[in-house]
């Protein structure tokens, strides 16, 4: 599978095992599009995607499903930039990525470049940090997650 993908999208595959294939983040969308369009691969549906914090890098894992051939393809991309982790959005290939990418951004802090509506989803804009990162609980003790005051109060109000 990895050899076919490398032939179809040159320079995309980094490494592969029997279970998954890792692609270069900058070639990710090309690889997904090729897997989607190729009749043998027929990755018609983005079944699942999630981010994994591996301590020294992030992984974005795509589970692609072929409904006609009934097989699953697992594609991974590794991101080494902890501060500005970003990967191209797969939304142009799979509309089903709309909410899944927002979820990964919200909880893991991975930006999806080109996503039409990349906002926090479960948490609010301005929430400090990204909870599913492994270093989330190392946020300094005086920094409590949550709003500093009730939304209807002004900051300067005396009690």
């Amino acid at each position: 599978m990895a050899a076919l993908l490398e032939a179809g999208v040159p320079g995309s595959v980094v490494t592969s095992t029997d279970e998954w294939v890792e692609v270069r983040p900058e070639r990710l969308v090309d690889a997904l599009r090729w897997l989607h369009d190729d009749p043998e691969m027929d990755a018609a549906q983005l079944s699942n995607m999630c981010g994994v914090d591996r301590y020294d890098h992030f992984e974005v894992v795509y589970h692609l499903q072929s409904l006609d051939q009934n097989h699953q393809i697992v594609v991974k991309a590794r991101l080494h930039d902890h501060e500005a982790a970003s990967v191209p959005s797969s939304y142009p290939v799979y509309t089903g990525a709309l909410l899944q990418e927002r979820e990964v951004y919200d909880l893991m802090g991975i930006r999806f470049e080109g996503h039409p509506d990349l906002r926090r989803m479960f948490l609010w804009e301005g929430y400090p940090g990204f909870p599913l990162r492994k270093d989330f609980l190392q946020i300094s003790a005086d920094h409590h997650p949550g709003l500093p005051h009730f939304p209807f109060e002004t900051g300067e109000q005396e009690r």
Partner: protein, 367 residues
């Protein structure tokens, strides 16, 4: 004379009967037509995926009940299958059969609820819902006599199920599945040709097969669009390959087809339960596993056909007693990916019916 109109914003929810939980829709309306729709979620976010990283594999099972609290058994099952795949645990055959029986009972209960609330949204206030609650109560009684809980069952275990059903379980389930076909026929008679339901649901919220596949839609919604895709057939888990059942599909992919697919799936579930009860093997109902299971480093993705769609669990192990990463593929959330496409241009009451037909459970959306 022309009248000028300007768009206005309407908030539906967070507390609203048709959102089935704490879920908010922010709708931009132009008169009665929807110009834009946006969902605001997170009111029930309990950060289960993070909490799971601090707890052992067995301690995480009760969390999975509380994601989709209308289908706790299916969630238990999906999670246990993922950990079993990760750790290479074998499941006794009796446990597989019991899992099938309880997962299908759960599907009956969940589809009763889904169809009842859908009809509720379409305007038949409460009466059909109460009919369907009648059967759901009996299913929850079966859960209660087996594992002591009605909703958050915590019944499946890694390597099997927690308890063998007690002796009084068998006559109760026999009478239930003898009664179910009559009840489903009753719903069919009451609702399927109902003029109001057809007027409210036919041609509303249509998704074509290609749109649904590309939009990651799964479960009854995908099948209503005419795609015969069911993980119980495509990737049989537990003992599903030994049972004879059919995959109902719709033709147009509208709200009415989704309702019909769910109704027909209830019939098929009864068939599966009948076969599983007849073939229920004797033997142990669970294998012993270490209390603090430490699977070898690796990852596993297991999925089941939950009542709402593909219910997947992605578990990553780093060799420790707790998962390094625990991700739930929540069909309720992902089935909303195309909400904008289904609702924009429709009238407000149609959007409510569309939302009802997607059958969301907010606990699962937010996790």
């Amino acid at each position: 004379m022309t009248t000028a109109s300007e768009p206005y914003v309407l908030n539906i929810g967070p507390q609203h009967p048709s959102t089935h939980g704490v879920f908010r829709l922010r709708v931009v309306m132009d008169g009665e037509r929807i110009q834009d729709i946006d969902m605001v979620v997170g009111y029930l976010h309990r950060s289960m995926e993070k909490l799971a990283e601090e707890r052992t594999y067995t301690q995480n099972i009760p969390f999975t009940d509380r994601t989709d609290y209308l289908a706790a058994m299916s969630n238990n099952l999906g999670y246990c299958l993922a950990v079993e795949r990760l750790a290479g645990v074998e499941v006794p055959e009796r446990a597989s059969y019991l899992r099938v029986i309880f997962a299908e009972l759960q599907r009956l209960a969940s589809h009763s609820m889904a169809n009842g609330t859908f009809i509720n949204d379409a305007g038949a206030w409460q009466t059909p819902l109460m009919y369907m609650f009648r059967e759901r109560e009996k299913i929850l009684d079966l859960f209660e006599m087996t594992c002591g809980a009605r909703l958050t069952t915590n019944y499946m275990r890694i390597g099997g199920v927690a308890f063998d059903p007690p002796p009084e379980f068998y006559p109760a389930i026999e009478s239930l599945i003898a009664e179910m076909p009559t009840r489903i026929a009753e719903y069919t008679e009451l609702l399927v040709d109902n003029e109001i339901l057809i007027a409210r649901a036919r041609g509303i919220g249509v998704l074509t097969a290609a749109e649904a596949i590309n939009g990651s839609i799964t479960g009854p919604m995908l099948r209503a669009s005419g795609v015969p895709w069911d993980l119980r057939k495509a990737e049989p888990y537990c003992a599903y390959d030994q049972f004879d059942f059919e995959i109902p599909v719709g033709h147009t992919g509208d709200c009415y087809d989704r309702f019909m697919v769910r109704l027909e799936e209830m019939r098929q579930s009864v068939r599966i339960i009948r076969q599983a009860l007849d073939g229920l093997p004797s033997g142990p109902h669970k294998t012993e596993i270490p209390l603090a299971l430490r699977p070898a480093p690796g990852e596993a993705y297991a999925r089941v056909e939950g009542p709402r769609g593909e219910l997947g669990f992605y578990v990553v192990s780093d060799g420790g007693p707790a998962p390094a990463r625990f991700h739930i593929r929540a069909p309720s959330l992902i089935n909303l990916s195309l909400l904008r496409q289904m609702a924009v241009g429709a009238a407000l009451p149609d959007a409510i019916v569309t939302l009802g037909s997607t059958d969301i459970v907010v606990g699962e959306i937010d996790r």
